[in-house]
Amino acid sequence: MGDLLAPPNTLEVLLGNEAIARGALEGGLNVAAAYPGTPSTEIGEALSKAAKKLGIYFEWSSNEKVAAEVAIGAAWSGLRSMTMMKHVGFNVAADAVFTLTYAGLTGAMVIVSADDPHCHSSQNEQDNRHYSEAAGLPMLEPSNVQEAKDFTKEAMELSHRYKVPFMVRTTTRVNHQRGPVRLGEITAKPSTGVFEPPEPDRYLQVGAIARKHHVELLKKLRDIQEISGSYARIEGPQDAEIGIVTSGVSYAHVRDALRLSGLEAKILKLGMTFPLPERTIGDFLRSINTALIVEELDPFLEIKVRSIAKDYAPDLEVLGKLTGHMPQFHEYTVRTVLEGLSKAFGIRSPIDFAEIDRKSSSILSKVPPRPPILCPACPHRSTGYAMRRAAGRAVFMGDIGCYALLFQQPFRVEHVTHAMGSSIGIANGVSLATQQDVVALIGDSTFFHAGIPALINAVHNGRKILVVIMDNRTTAMTGHQSHPGVPYDALGREAPSVDIEALVKAIGVNYIKIVDPFDHKETEKALREALKSEGVSVVIARRECALLTVRDIRTQGKRIVPYKVNPEKCTYCRVCINTFACPAFVDTGSLVEIDPAVCFGCGACVQVCPYEAIEPQEGSLDWRKEGLGVLAWGR
């Protein structure tokens, strides 16, 4: 990680997300709040470290809507705030954001939407630029790490000037790009605000007032459109007849593709993509014969460029997704752009992709795929193992988190992965519509995020479902952020933890049992009992994320000593591989071995072997017997 607090004018290597955090600090940030979600998480991680040193405030909120509301409350109290979320997180926050643009604000507020074309770590590839236009939320789109910092700072200043929230819209390849950034001065400092609306009805969105505020918002957006062109620039030979309109990371691919292809074209690179600088675009279109629009996902710019062209350059040929020259799905690369240039302008690609595909496809067919799987020592593996044995015939509604990987062989205890908290919500519907045993699997952080209302609904409406809360004491998938169930907050301070068991009891659940998933027998027994009980039952499978336990063991200066398969006892029955599938198992063709480079030495697999062939070595720990991963929660 780069030094987020390095002095002005230094060149510091930052991740795009760190650059966004630094930009906010240079923009005078006082308060930030977020729910973790790839590819946005590291903005919060960086701010949590910086906040401690600068005395400003950062929290991991229980969900994106709450996070947005924390930031709104701060901005309405005259402070400068920011909230950050992944694209689908915006869906959760949207209710609060749509009305915020009408209300405006007293201080300043930046909303970062980190989109994920290609679904690298997401369930869809929605294009959140539409949110910007739909909510009347002005938007800046950085192309690289330097702009990630500069635009975030700029967004904060603009929000303060125009009294509307500004969105910084990024994509994975900007968030997770790393490079040198020239720094400016940090102006973030602790500050106490006053809640004092500029006019008495400013923050009261009821019909008559909201109608008035809508008109005001449209006026503000026209004012902002006047400065939109100052975030655009034109590059390349002035007299080129081909023009490329682009923004975000696509700009970087275009630059490389033009150099490689030698095509004579100029580029209009947009920085503010809502509201768009109509005159700047119109003048550019007038100066060329053909325009190619290069943008990932939806034809957001393309449709607007076409409409501007009608007024400014009616004879112009506008090429892009609508004309079949560029794809409307997945992320772009330099290759995508080169192929688009070939289709549009008939140039020969400097690289023979067909030949590369031909040569490599026969090789790739021999390389077995390696999808992400649960880590060695992951408690979810043990829960999945027990679930398969106890509830093999049930239908399983899964949720968003590492445990979604239990959809894979040999567990197959996830038939559904949809949206945050949907496991319990959809279980409501399936249990109502069918006579099947319905199990909902949800993680602790996801339960706090959006699971609780659905559980309340199930109890009140008399559903019969089993909810398994897979409590690994952290938000694991995004890299171990705190949540309301742990006794520390985002700044590492002691914090009251919300007791899941007491909460579930208060909701009125009939059967509640807490188990250590590493105790396979107990876990299986609890699941069987729960399935037989009436109404809503909850099993809390509680064991901390293995990566935290491993870190603890190493921090204490202890060594991780792997387990070993005793070749005298191993019958090569493959039960361990076929039912437990830890990535440390190696099939030699005549025996199973444990790869010492992969094994974390947890000892859970000992229970799986029918021949007791898996044994500790000298120095091996037994996590269950030594209470590792279930006691040390005071961190």
């Binding site: 290597v13 690289n144 790393r178 691919h253 490389d256 330099v334 290759r335 894979q408 890299g479 990535p583």
Partner: protein, 203 residues
């Protein structure tokens, strides 16, 4: 050292092998030499023991954070299958430095897919006519240095030793030292030096 216009590095392996650290060290060396770079990584779910790779583009003319097929200059392979999976990027300009330790995907066992042997992987890599192909006993040397977890730094040392990185030894070694957490610093430096000595070139 003349101006570097474009030098593309990929580090490929299995999540958890220290791939990001390895890339960060090379980027740090570029920074120390005053050379521009852009790096791309993937965080989140895909890190969980799946195939992962980072891409680092060094030079005055690089913009895109992603490497184009056929234009890779150095492939650091933390695992042989993951090295071979990058076949579309490998060409006559590519140097490959690879660990010899295969980590078979557990999903291959469950789907009864064949896992190729190291020899088969090497044959396929050679068929792509890389500029160099070096194999390192990264885990063995890392254990000798003190812990398996330093296998990534062993390969880094090896890559420098065979001249496939445009940085002098001192600069890269310093980058390892600067980026290592205090408790791993000595381990990593030992691993780096062992990697430099332990590299072999199969033909």
């Amino acid at each position: 050292m003349g101006e570097i216009r474009e030098f593309n590095v990929m580090v490929a392996g299995v999540g958890g092998q220290g791939i990001l650290f390895t890339t960060n060290v090379i980027a740090r060396a570029a920074l120390k030499m005053g050379i521009n770079f852009v790096q791309s990584e993937i965080h989140g779910l895909s890190q969980r023991y799946g195939s992962i790779r980072t891409e680092l583009r060094i030079g005055s003319e690089v913009h895109s954070p992603l490497i184009l097929e056929g234009t890779l200059d150095l492939l650091i392979g933390m695992e042989p299958l993951e090295t071979l999976r990058q076949a579309p990027y490998i060409s006559e300009r590519t140097s490959i430095v690879m660990s010899d330790h295969i980590i078979p995907p557990i999903s291959a066992y469950l789907a009864r897919l064949r896992v190729p042997s190291l020899e088969e992987i090497l044959d396929d890599l050679r068929s792509l006519r890389p500029k160099r192909l070096a194999v390192v006993d990264a885990y063995g040397l890392a254990e000798k240095a003190g812990d398996y977890i330093a296998a990534n730094v062993v390969i880094l040392g090896a890559a420098q030793a065979i001249g496939s990185l445009p940085f002098p030894n001192g600069v890269l070694r310093e980058a390892v030292e600067e980026l290592s957490p205090a408790r791993y610093r000595d381990l990593n430096l030992r691993a780096y030096d062992l990697g430099r000595e332990g590299v072999s070139l199969p033909r």
